[in-house]
Symmetry: C2
DNA sequence: ATCGCTATGTTGGCTGGCGAACATAAACGC
DNA sequence: GCGTTTATGTTCGCCAGCCAACATAGCGAT
């Protein structure tokens, strides 16, 4: 029973899936967990790529993105330290039509396809957690579909900020309006307008790629219900610590 | 080795997941497969309901729908005889935020939660197929999210007709414009306009809840890329017969 | 200090889908 | 056959987000 300092700068257990594993399972996997850094903007995989690693982020945020022929695109889900990136490895399809991109720099541990498939086949806790996370991801994606259809830019931007914030350990994001536009599938100008409104109302401040949320409760009021719906589903399905105590 | 007529009116193997099982697995499950009818409009489950059965449609179509507080809603995926309804049973969450509604009447076989969980835990072919189908479903939902964001009513209606058609065994659909509006998350009038255009162009004819596709190739031209992308992913992931030979 | 690049601000016209209100017409019950 | 119900047709003003074009301003590099 190895004793592991939970707050060491680089600890696999900063990822909440890994942290929720029984000690025995965790120790069996530990030798295969490879530490990597995820730089801002890194395209971890492109649509259709054969995926070779399952990533468990400890910090930072990864966007799952669908691209269209005409160059447009939309983010369909966000993943942080509550989850994993590369589910096609254990779902069996080996690749997905989505690409993955690091939206906020950070770190991750990764497991090779082979080891993950072995572990998954054991039918233990990692299988269980992986499937629960996948179900949560489906909820997020589905809600995004409805949200895209029905809600305004202001609401969607607010929701996106909140979801990103939940996956950061600070109240600020390093991201340009241009990038947000790409992720939300709207023009940069639309983001400028919506962000300007949020700033004028005193919910956020921003400048050249740095957004600070200064009144989170009011931002939550401003966001559409989609934020809470997805959050509740994540809280229900995933290991306890997620989104708890991050304020 | 029971011999089963593949074309008998009520055969579990009309569902392509069940049909793809090794004979041994299939026969083990057969005693537990309960035949049911799915009447038009049946709400199989509401958002958050504890799901007790995994359904394998043999004919008919089921819509997965997300509802919003203000009464609006959008369909996030369509399921026919290529798949199953009630994935939260084996994904582990027991319920989902989506509701499920029969969009085209038909039949299904269902498996109780208990039996399905047992079978899934064996790690056999049903587990494999269930996960592959789930991955395909994720693709469909994700593509829907992007499509909702970027494509026009005409395109989306065309895509929806094609996807429904693929899950029927005819070239006609029984569905009102009102219902299509609910599923696509738009007003009935918008559907009327788009459908009128498709009819004027000679792709479809319709009258009081009966839509016939009379020029499918041209309808495919009219639809957005989303149709083909999802279809290709289904073909790649799922057992062979899907969408093959349905014309 | 200046140049240049990147991020943000702003404007004007356009359009697709919304909201509401109302018109017609096909099927159904009796 | 007649009235009721249900499905579809049509119109008008409205607005969010699009497209295009251009303006300013912060920040780094030399």
């Amino acid at each position: 029973m190895l004793k592991i300092a939970k707050e060491s700068p680089h600890d696999p257990k900063q990822n909440l899936i890994l942290a929720a594993l029984p000690e025995q399972d965790y120790e069996r996997l530990l030798p295969y967990l490879e530490f990597i850094t995820m730089p801002l903007g890194w395209r971890m995989s492109e649509s259709g790529d054969h995926v070779n690693f399952l990533h468990f982020p400890t910090t930072g945020i990864v966007s799952l993105i669908y691209d269209l022929e005409n160059g447009a695109s939309s983010e369909v889900a966000l993943v942080g330290n509550e989850g994993m990136v590369g589910i096609s490895i254990f779902m069996g399809g080996d690749s997905m039509p989505s690409s993955t991109e690091v939206q906020s720099a950070g770190y991750a541990y990764r497991l090779s396809r082979k080891i993950m498939k072995q572990e998954f086949a054991l039918g233990g806790q990692l299988q269980h957690l992986a499937l629960l996370f996948t179900q949560a991801l489906i909820s997020q994606t589905s809600q995004t579909a409805v949200c895209n259809q029905h809600h305004s830019m202001d609401q969607r931007l607010s929701r996106w900020l909140l979801m990103s914030l939940d996956r950061m350990h600070e109240n600020k994001l390093m991201v340009t309006q241009e990038l947000i536009g790409n992720l939300l599938g709207v023009r940069r100008e639309s983001v400028t307008e919506a962000a300007g409104k949020l700033q004028k109302d005193g919910f956020i401040t921003y400048s050249r790629g740095l957004i600070k949320v200064i009144d989170r409760p009011k931002l939550e009021m401003q966001a559409c219900e989609c934020y809470q719906v997805v959050k509740q589903e994540y809280d229900r399905l995933l290991p306890h610590p997620f989104l708890k105590g991050l304020k």
